[in-house]
């Protein structure tokens, strides 16, 4: 492979920097991940702070000034993101920028874009020591609107409602809906305070990835971040398996929609990464999986019936969109297919094909500068350093017996139905 991890360095102040260079890319990215415990009262403020940082800086205090400057750097972009990782929350600020050799007349833009990006993170647009009210309001209202708009996507909405039940009592059950009130009542002062706290306390993982191999980029990052006064949380421990309920939770809600959403969650107390991934793939993550071939293709009950593994939680979640009157039938069919694998009712060919699919899919991470970042970020969070090839070999080493044993440990924990009613399309002229 042409990709190489040029280096990964752990700095004593809880900052890690990984450089993944690959000459085939015409652009490079800098991803700064700030990882914090998923605290319901803090996370929404951190998220809002990151969003504000992506709009402006002291040097470019107006959003359109920053946008224009980035556009002049050949469509460079700065974005913020937020996602749950187990009981933690990962907040990220990302720069995407063209490599200098692809600009007109080899205009040098990389260093300029890097400085501009770090200005957004470290030298924000403050008024009297707090975030400018204009962007505070804009970003807060956007976040609230985004939360309200989740209902537009029924599958996502159902997933959030199901997680409330599946991970009851765990921080992993928290969603944007839980953060809404904190956001609504937040002040610029609180968010500014949260911003400084984030820079001080977060575990920071930085990735420089793509086609730029200039050491100046990493030097600038290290130099600028070394200015920070740091007192970080300890290194995150991500594995936090969700306990199986003593009694299966069965619950439902209704929504105005044409289709109902069925979600079934299974949990294990004996997680083996490779056997679980193979089980998940054979059950419902491939177009030749048990669920696809039977619940969709043979029974014609749905368009999708997928299985997804929540790795840090040891939880396998199946979801499907279907007619309300078919919910019981689908539940039975899903149970039957899961039990088929637990009982060893699959061919060696099915298992070998799934292994091949997974190992080939791992290799595709090399072709995206961000996917390879995510790959290694995940490895580091597990304390491993496996390449996609190595991971593929480990998947291929799973035996039939290991797979059956792994499958048997998955027990039903939650069944949630978001029942569609009234079609939701009584249109009027």
């Amino acid at each position: 492979m042409s990709v190489e991890i040029t280096f990964r360095k752990k700095y004593p102040n809880g900052i890690n920097l990984t450089k993944i260079y690959d000459s085939k890319f015409k652009s490079f990215g800098i991803v700064i991940k700030l990882i914090v415990p998923n605290d319901k009262t803090k996370v929404p403020l951190y998220t809002l702070a990151l969003d504000i940082l992506a709009t402006s800086s002291r040097k470019y205090p107006e959003m359109e000034q920053l946008s224009k400057e980035l556009s002049n750097l050949y469509s460079a972009s700065i974005g913020s993101g937020a996602s749950k990782i187990s009981e933690y929350f990962s907040l990220s600020l990302t720069l995407n920028c063209i490599c200098d050799e692809y600009t007109i007349d080899n205009e040098q833009v990389s260093e300029k874009a890097t400085e501009l990006f770090l200005d957004c993170l470290l030298d924000p647009n403050l008024e009297n020591g707090v975030f400018a009210n204009k962007y505070f309001r804009l970003c807060r209202d956007d976040l609230i609107d985004d939360t309200d708009a989740i209902i537009n996507n029924k599958r996502r909405y159902a997933g959030i409602l199901a997680n409330k039940r599946i991970y009851k009592g765990e921080n992993y059950s928290l969603s944007a809906f839980d953060y809404r009130d904190v956001l609504k009542n937040a002040s610029p002062e609180q968010v500014t305070e949260a911003y400084y706290e984030l820079l001080k306390k977060a575990y920071i993982d930085i990735f420089v990835t793509g086609g730029n191999n200039d050491d100046k980029i990493t030097d600038i990052i290290i130099s600028r971040l070394s200015e920070l006064e740091r007192a970080p949380f300890g290194e995150p421990e991500y594995d936090s398996f969700s306990p199986l309920k003593t009694e299966v939770c069965r619950d439902s809600e209704t929504i105005e929609a044409n289709q109902s959403q069925l979600i079934m969650a299974y949990k294990t107390d004996n997680y083996n990464e490779y056997a679980s991934k193979l089980f998940n793939a054979m059950l419902g993550a491939l177009p030749t999986s048990k669920l696809f071939m039977n619940v969709r293709e043979k029974m014609s009950l749905c368009y999708y019936c997928d299985a997804m593994l929540s790795e840090f939680k040891g939880t396998l979640i199946i979801n499907s969109g279907l007619d309300s009157n078919n919910i019981s039938l689908a539940q039975e069919a899903i149970t039957e297919q899961l039990e088929a694998i637990q009982n060893g009712d699959f061919t060696d060919e099915e298992m070998d094909n799934a292994k091949l699919y997974l190992s080939e899919a791992y290799l595709s991470n090399y072709d995206s500068k961000y996917d390879i970042c995510t790959w290694y970020s995940f490895q580091f969070s597990h304390g491993t350093f496996d390449t996609p090839e190595e991971k593929g070999r480990k998947i291929k080493a799973v035996t039939r017996e290991m797979l059956i044993e792994e499958a048997k440990h998955y027990k039903l924990d939650t069944v949630f139905v978001l029942k569609g009613e009234n079609g939701g399309n009584d249109d009027e002229a």
Binding site: D142, L286, L356
Partner: protein, 426 residues
């Protein structure tokens, strides 16, 4: 087999090239080698989508009309096989296979890592050898009905089709790609074969492949699997479409978090390079007047009239439609409409920000170059441009030629008399 000579397209700016081969079978083959990349992405596509619902060939005689959603239904049915399904064949290779149907295209795709030869052979083979029976057509009805219901539950999609329905009186672009639960009831195996035999003719198709490939291997597989066919002189029929809109206003009801609005402008249809150039100019004009760096956007966001979901789009094709759409969320959609209308009244050449235009050109150039970072985008981009009758690198050329005057001229297409305003709310 005789050695084929390719037409070579190269861009010194992005340092990429691709080759177009006119294969003797009638199929055009596009190949982009991407050194250093691991994966290969292929699309085997036909110029057949939801808008092609009335057509004729030398075999059919007069035009025939088929049920809405049949192109999409056919896409599903091509994954059947007599001995085993297509997904099962791919499963032995580790490749990921998929397909999609749009307004004007149906494409079958795969993405492979270690080896693309067997997946390519499967792709060429299964698309040319349909296995459609009454039984498997019946089985698919429930699956597609659920797909239709799933998409109907998306308010954004509902708004998009409401917008098209308001803009177009007769053009089939206003019909949902998958049809309706009712329209798919009329689809039968003989009808699917009729559509297959009409549109899945190699003269009406293209193979686009990019990534870790070499021309010789791709062409050898093509030689082995492509079956030469006679050109059937296919013609699609599009009904007469006036420039007036069908309905200037509409409101539909869905459960939404924040109301969504869409203001669409109906423009005269174009084809080929003129379509590509005007679409690009129009897109730049929209960014100058309504984009995130425009004065209007800044004011509208600051006043809370729109939020950052607001976007502009040029939705056009050589199949007879060209529309400009401004859409987004707004707590008061009427206020958003009034704000856009007020802005439109002030637009003149003096208000066109030439400096912003130059910035956008530079930004557009960067975006174009960065497309060639992604294997799937390269394959899709070659395919899409070929089907639109233009080249992959033409965008870069056009961008270097466009002037502020030419871009400003396209603002004349923002004619409120040819517009329609649609809203989705609770």
């Amino acid at each position: 087999m005789m050695k084929l000579e390719p037409e070579i397209f190269r861009s010194e700016l992005c340092k990429n090239e691709y080759h177009l081969y006119h294969h003797p079978s009638g199929l055009d083959v596009l190949i982009m080698q991407l050194p250093g990349f691991t994966t290969t992405e292929a699309l085997f596509a036909t110029k057949y989508g939801s808008v092609n619902n009335c057509f004729k060939t030398v075999d059919t005689g007069d035009y025939i009309k088929v049920p809405d959603g049949i192109a999409h239904y056919l896409e599903h049915k091509l994954f059947e096989g007599e001995e085993c399904g297509v997904f099962e064949r791919y499963a032995k290779t580790g490749a990921y296979a998929n397909a999609f149907t749009s307004f004007g295209t149906t494409a079958y795709t795969f993405s492979a890592s270690s080896d693309y030869k067997e997946p390519l052979a499967i792709l060429l083979d299964f698309v040319q050898n349909p296995y459609i029976t009454d039984e498997n057509v019946e089985k698919e009805r429930g699956i597609i009905a659920q797909e239709i219901k799933m998409t109907n539950d998306s308010p954004v999609r509902a708004l998009f089709f409401e917008q098209l329905g308001c803009l177009y009186h007769n053009h089939p672009v206003k019909i949902d790609i998958a049809g309706t639960v009712e329209s798919i009831q009329d689809i039968t195996a003989p009808l699917l074969y009729k559509c297959y035999n009409t549109f899945y003719n190699l003269h009406n198709m293209v193979l686009s492949i990019a990534g870790n490939v070499d021309d010789e291997t791709v062409l050898a597989i093509c030689d082995k699997y492509l079956k030469p066919v006679e050109n059937k002189q296919l013609e699609s029929f599009f009904p007469e479409e006036p420039l007036t809109v069908a309905k200037p206003r509409s409101e539909i009801r869905r459960q939404v978090g924040v109301p969504i609005f869409s203001l669409g402008f109906k423009c005269p249809p174009l084809t080929g390079k003129e379509l590509q150039r005007t679409s690009m100019a129009c897109d730049l004009m929209l960014k100058v007047f309504f984009g995130s760096m425009s004065e209007w956007y800044k004011e509208a966001v600051n006043q809370g009239i729109i939020n950052t979901t607001f976007s502009t789009e040029v939705f056009s094709s050589a199949n007879g439609y060209f529309t400009i759409i401004l859409s987004g969320e707004a707590k008061d959609p009427e206020a958003a409409y009034n704000s856009i209308c007020a802005k439109l009244k002030t637009i003149d050449r003096a208000s066109f920000d030439d400096d912003l235009f130059r910035t956008l050109i530079k930004s557009g150039y960067g975006s174009e170059i960065m497309k060639y970072n992604i294997v799937s985008e390269c394959a899709e981009f070659m395919c899409y441009n070929y089907l639109s009758g233009v080249g992959c690198f033409d965008n870069l050329q056009i961008m270097s030629e466009l002037t502020a005057d030419e871009v400003f001229e396209t603002s004349k297409l923002l004619d409120l008399d040819r517009s329609s305003f649609c809203v989705v709310r609770n």
